[in-house]
């Protein structure tokens, strides 16, 4: 363990607006920059979602064109997964929290950190610009399966839009890799005195494992994207077999297979789910501990479960390909290991619930979202069984059951993690509180629209409604399922309205929120031992040491019922 004393002394706060807020190397500023970037991208992605819902509720009006519709679903997924949730949750909160939690003055590589942010900015610009080019934005699904994504003739969005999509993804991966390296190095090497691995707050464990998973799996997507670029622009045939016919004309490609891309994509794609979900769970643990005044139930168990999830997540990607024509024995293998993931997840879920046991719960907005997150993990996790079991996936594959399912896992769990984290750490970010009343309105508008909305999609999947379908009335068998579309669209509008409340609260509170002191929630971890907002270098005095577990709640009873992690043992 190396102390971060190297930063001590000559680390002065930079002067000048540009160095302080724009090209900053301060992990807290960078974290907030990521967060605000994600907010902008979320606005775009939400508008796309609303357009999708309008089309589905009133398909006879043909509000958008079919080729626009496939661009909408493609870009909504891409933006939400990579440019909203990844940026806000992993890059945003990860950057802001890790040094404060482990007791470091900054990330291990502050300049690399700044670079990682300034690499993602052009990525965002390219993604947004792709809406404006000829043919429109990418339209091969967020999974970008070739040949659709490889051939301009296959779909209008597969022109310049798809190329920009690939370049933007390359920038995203580069940025995410720099961030991941920083996280792992900082957590492993820059912990303060006494901060042993088993004294790390659980959220730091989740960031560590998330970063390791990202570093191990993203190279597969990098390779996949490069090969796809070559197929598109250099005439290679990595993904393209012989005999493709478009408009009575046979293409000269030969020797490749689209299945190669699917394997490479999901080798990343599946771990990516845990890259995003784990930090949200980590935030859940932190917030529930502080608002139930109890240490999270089963710290060790949770850490081991996270490790088991990490290992399993790397060997289950094939469950996205059960119906791709893979060897049936392979299908069986992927089924057996996939459903095992519910085991460590159920341990984590039960630990979260058990953390409330004999607590003294306070239902502030942060806690409300953390508890909503627990429910969403349950729904998302259990829904996974239907899709992880090959025999039932045969029916559910590419149906709205899948759409409902992943909107609970990488949608709701992650967003609720972001919201819980925002209400909880906002005082440390800006020295002010978010408005509690608006926070509650936001919560209730969100849960009463979001849960029914995505649950109804599960019924639609059961009724056989297929995803990425511009006009479901083409079929008769799905009549009952598609009958829910109007309700779902109205719920989606409600959900959107609820998020406006959050945005108003967020920006108003930045400037007009009630000022807070060091430790407004009477929490125990190290970030609460410095002033709010935390200054450059995180602590004006010496960096605190860790003398005990991160969650000593319920210590003495009464008002001061907690002991800071930095408090020396008597």
């Amino acid at each position: 363990m190396i102390e971060s004393s190297g930063h001590e002394g000559g680390h002065e706060a930079p002067r000048g607006f540009l160095r302080r807020y724009v090209f900053s190397t301060d992990h807290k500023v960078i974290g907030i920059q990521y967060f605000l970037t994600a907010v902008v991208m979320a606005l775009v992605a939400t508008v796309l979602a609303m357009l999708i819902r309008v089309q589905l509720a009133w398909p006879e009006k043909a509000v958008v064109a079919p080729e626009t519709y496939v661009s909408l679903v493609t870009m909504h997924g891409t933006l939400m997964v990579f440019f909203v949730v990844s940026l806000a949750l992993v890059s945003g909160f990860g950057n802001f929290l890790i040094p404060l939690h482990v007791g470091a003055r900054d990330m291990a590589y502050p300049f690399l950190n700044m670079l990682s942010f300034w690499v993602i900015v052009p990525g965002c610009v390219l993604m947004l610009a792709s809406f404006l080019v000829e043919g429109g934005a990418a339209a091969a699904g967020w999974t970008a399966y070739p040949p659709l994504s490889a051939l301009g003739k296959a779909v209008p969005g597969s022109g310049l839009g798809q190329t920009l999509w690939l370049l933007a993804m390359a920038l995203f991966i580069a940025s995410f890799t720099m961030g991941g390296l920083n996280y792992v190095t900082t957590i492993v090497n820059c912990r303060t005195r006494g901060m042993s691995m088993m004294r790390l707050p659980l959220v730091v464990w989740t960031f560590l494992i998330s970063a390791v998973l990202g570093l191990l799996s993203f190279p597969a997507l990098t390779a996949a994207a490069i090969l796809l670029l070559l197929d598109r622009h250099a005439g290679t045939s990595f993904y393209l077999p012989a005999g493709l016919v478009f408009g009575n004309e046979t293409l000269p490609h030969q020797g490749g297979t689209p299945l190669l891309f699917q394997h490479l994509f999901w080798f990343l794609g599946h771990p990516e789910v845990y890259v995003l979900v784990l930090p949200a769970l980590g935030i859940g643990f932190e917030v529930i501990a502080a608002f139930a005044r109890r240490p999270p139930f089963g710290y060790r168990l949770s850490v081991y479960s996270i490790l088991v999830i990490a290992v399993l997540s790397m060997i289950v990607w094939g469950h996205h390909m059960f119906v791709s024509g893979m060897n049936p024995y392979l299908g069986k293998y992927f089924s057996i290991v996939t459903v095992l993931i519910t085991v460590p997840f159920s341990v984590l879920g039960l630990n979260l619930i058990a953390s409330l046991w004999r607590g003294r719960i306070r239902l502030d907005a942060a806690m409300l979202f953390a508890l909503g997150l627990v429910s969403a993990i349950g729904i998302g996790g259990l829904g996974g069984l239907y899709l992880g079991t090959a025999t039932s996936d045969l029916y559910f594959h590419d149906s709205y059951f899948v759409v409902g399912h992943f909107h609970f896992t990488i949608g709701t769990v992650t967003f609720f993690g972001i919201y819980a984290g925002t209400y909880y750490w906002f005082p440390k970010m800006f020295g002010r509180r978010m408005d509690e009343g608006l926070g509650r309105v936001h919560f209730w508008l969100t849960v009463t629209s979001l849960f029914p909305m995505f649950l109804l999609m599960h019924y639609q999947g059961l009724g056989g409604l297929l995803r990425r379908t511009y006009d479901p009335t083409v079929y008769a068998y799905n009549a009952a399922a598609r009958g829910l579309n109007l309700s779902i669209t109205l719920l989606a509008f409600g959900l959107g309205a609820g998020q406006i409340v959050f945005l108003v609260n967020l920006f108003r509170s930045m400037f007009a929120g009630e000022r807070t002191g060091e430790n407004p929630w009477q929490a125990t971890t190290l970030e609460w031992t410095t002033e709010s907002p935390a200054p450059h270098g995180n602590w004006r005095r010496e960096v605190p040491s860790a003398h005990r577990s991160p969650y000593e709640y319920g210590r003495n009873g009464g008002a001061e019922d907690f002991v800071l992690q930095s408090a020396e043992k008597a």
């Binding site: 399966y145 689209p258 089963g298 992880g388 083409v474 009952a480």
Partner: protein, 274 residues
């Protein structure tokens, strides 16, 4: 410290979890969302789905009841104590979910789902009818081998939208009587069917919800799927894999009819080059 009643917000949240769980379970149980099942292996697929519905339903209801109960009970104040668990206690607690979930999930995969999976991907039963389905943007083409019972040679270079949609090679004697149809599939009731799957351009997926059939079609690979339709009727064929702007309208018809009627129908079909 402890009060008799929790604050309204706790009651509201607890009530929300209970109502949500109850209504969700009711929605699954009260309405039969699944379309009718018309294939031999279909009930096996449905059995797997129902098994998981029951198992996850119980876990979902119990989990939410406990969550709601805790929220309600422990919002009344009180003085929590700091009592970390010993590793031994932790491990014994974990044993319950580990055993329960391992057994519940693997029973679904191996015991309930396994036989149906093997049926779908197992040996082809004797006397199966072999047909070919070709996917292209945004149309289904169906080929029967004709009177000689053999599929003639095809080549991509010969494909023409109108004149030769699957690219039959005229020079191959086996090709002349091959029957090629657009968008409609006739199948005999009760006889096993093997479908050869080909794509001319991008990924498609051969899906017949009522038959519980879904199989991706990967260009460059000759795919296959097999099933036995057991219920006469007219069903819909859908493309289940995004294949472009017209993906949504890439539908087809599947007519399952008694074997004699099917045979009669097949005899009436002329070969593509006849």
């Amino acid at each position: 410290m402890e009060t008799a009643r929790p604050p309204a917000s706790a009651s509201a949240l607890a009530a929300f979890f209970v109502v949500l769980a109850a209504l969700t379970a009711l929605g699954f149980a009260a309405i039969s969302w699944l379309p009718v099942v018309a294939s031999e292996h279909g009930p096996g697929v449905d059995r797997t789905i129902v098994y998981i519905l029951v198992v996850t339903g119980v876990l979902f209801l119990v989990g939410h009841a406990v969550l709601a109960g805790f929220v309600w009970r422990y919002s009344r104040g009180g003085t929590p104590e700091y009592r970390p668990l010993s590793p031994k206690v932790e491990w014994s607690w974990a044993l319950l979910p580990v055993l329960a979930l391992t057994v519940a999930s693997e029973v679904g995969v191996l015991v309930i789902g396994g036989p149906a999976w093997s049926q779908i991907y197992g040996e082809t039963p004797a006397g199966a009818l072999e047909i070919e389905v070709v996917g292209k943007q945004f149309e289904w083409l169906v080929r029967y081998p004709g009177k000689d019972g053999r599929f003639g040679r095809t080549a991509a270079e010969l494909v023409h939208d109108v004149r030769n949609p699957v690219g039959l090679d005229k020079k191959d004697p086996a090709a002349s009587d091959d029957v090629v149809l657009r968008g409609a599939l006739h199948l005999p009731e009760g006889r096993p069917v093997v479908v050869r799957l080909r794509s001319l351009d991008v990924l498609h997926s051969f899906a017949i919800p009522e038959l519980r059939v879904k199989q991706d079609i990967v260009p460059g690979h000759l795919g296959r799927t097999q099933f036995r339709p057991v219920r006469a009727g007219s069903y819909e064929l859908a493309c289940a894999e995004l294949c472009g702007l017209g993906h949504y309208r890439m539908s087809g018809k599947v007519v399952v009819e008694p074997a004699p009627e099917f045979e009669r129908w097949l005899r009436e079909q002329a070969g593509w080059f006849e």
